[in-house]
Amino acid sequence: MRLELLERRGDPASPVHQAPALGKLLLTLLFIGVVVSSPSRNPILPAAALLTITLVAAVARISPGHLIRKLVSVEPFVVSVALLSLLQPGGVAIFLSMVIKSSLSVLAMILLVSTTRFGDLLRALRRLRLPGIMVMTLALMHRYIAVLGDETERMRRARASRTLVRGRRRAWSDLAAVAARLFIRSSERAERIYHAMCARGWRT
C-alpha cells in the first residue's frame, strides 16, 4: 500500500524551514482562525490570505504544482460537505465562502507540514502541553504506519495470488481477514517493542 503522505518539500535551508516549529504551528492556527472568522462578503481578506500563502511558498521554494496537487486531493471531501449548504436560501454565497475559506486553510496546513519535520511538530505539541501518552502514540504511529502499510500490501498480494475466486463477497471476507491478521501482527509487534523498551531501561 503506497501512502501519499505529506512530506517536506522545497529548500530546507530557507528561513521558513528554519523557523521554530512551535511558532509556525501557532501562526498557522492564527491564520486559519482569522480566515474562518472573517466576514464572508468581503473579498479583500481572502485575497490577502492567498497572497500571504503565495509569498511564504515562494520564500520556502515550494512549487505551486505541489500545493495545487495536494489541495486537489483534499478538495472532494471539502466540496461534498459544502454541498449541504446549497440546499437553503442564499446557499450559493455560503457555499462559495465555505469552499474558499476551507481551501485557504488547507493550503496553510499543507505549507506548515511541507516545511516542518514531523519530529519538530511533535516537540512543539509537547511544549503546548499535549500529554506524554499522546505524543508517544503519535511518534509510534508515525514510525510504524509505513511498516504496517507494507505488511498489508504483502498480505494482500499473497492472498490475491492464491485466490482464484472473484467476487465482492469473497473480497470482503478476504479484506477482513487481512485486517484481522494486521491487528494480530500489530499487537505482537507491540509486545516485542514493549519488551525491547523495558530491556533498555525504559520506565513509565
Partner: protein, 321 residues
Amino acid sequence: MHIPDGFLDLKTTAVAGALSATGLAAALRRIRTHPPVRREPMIGLAAAFIFVAQMLNFPVLGGTSGHLIGGVLAAVVLGPEVAVVVMSCVLILQCLLFADGGLLALGANIWNLAIVAPTLGYAIHALTRRLLPGLRGRLLATAFAAWCSVVFASISCAALLALSGAAPWRITLPAMVSVHMVIGFGEALITALVLAAVARTRPELLPEGESERAGADDTRRAIGYGLAVACGLAAFVAPFASPLPDGLERVAERLGFADRAATTPLHNSPFPDYLIPGANWSALSTVIAGLAGAAVAFAFAYLLARMLTPRSGSRSARDSV
C-alpha cells in the same frame, strides 16, 4: 465525516474543542491509573493499525468503496479509554499528514469520531452483549454498536454544522443521518468480520469474558461514560430538536384562526397540508425513521452473528467466555 476548516464558526469550534479536551483528559487519566497490557507500544501500534486499516478499500456497488472507521473495533478490543486516545491520534495524524480534516476543526472531529462514536458504541455494546451467550453475543453487540456509533457521530456532526450556520438542521440532519445509516451497515459488517477472524485465530487477544463482578462493574462504567457523552451530544442537539409543534401552529390554534386558515386556502396547494416530507412532522418522522433503521440494524447484526459463529455455538461459548 472529517469536517474541514472553514465550516465551523469559532464559537462551535471552541465548545467542541472544550468538550473533546475534557473527554480526552478523562480517558488519559483512566489509562494512567489502569494501563493496558503492553502499555504505550500497544496504544501506538493500535493507532497505526486503525490508520492503515482505514485505508483498506472494501468494494461496494459500482466503482465506489467503503472503509472501516474502527472506533467500536478499538473500543471492544482495547477498552473505551484506549479507543478514545487511539482514534484521537488517528485524527491528528490524518490532519497533519493528509490535510484530511481541519486543524482548527480538530476538536470537533475528535468529539464526533473519537469520543462520541467509541464511547456511545461501547456503552451500547455493554448493554446488548448479554442478550446472547459467548462469541455470538459479542458479535451481535459489536455489529449493532458499530452501526449505532456511525449514526451517532453523524448526528453530532450534523448538529455542529447546523450550529455554525453552515446548513440548516432540517437539511443536515436527514442528509447526514440517512447516508450514515447506510454506511453504518458496512461498518457493522467489517467490524464483525474482523472481530470474528481475530476470535477464530487468536481468541486470547480479545479481553476475557469477565467474571460476574468485574463484568457488572465494567458494564456500569461503560454506561456511565456513555451517559456523560450522550449529555454532551444532547446539549448540541437540544436547540434544534423541539418535540413541540411548530410555534405558529400553536398560536393559531390558541387564537382560533386555525380552522379559518384551513377552510379558506389562498391558493390550491398541490399537496394537502401535511404530506410534504420535511414540512411540519419532520421531527417525529425522523425519530420513527431512526428507530426503524435501528431495528433493521439489530436484525442485521443478529443474522451476522449467527452466520459468523460456528454451528450450535457451544464451541464458541467455551472458547470466549
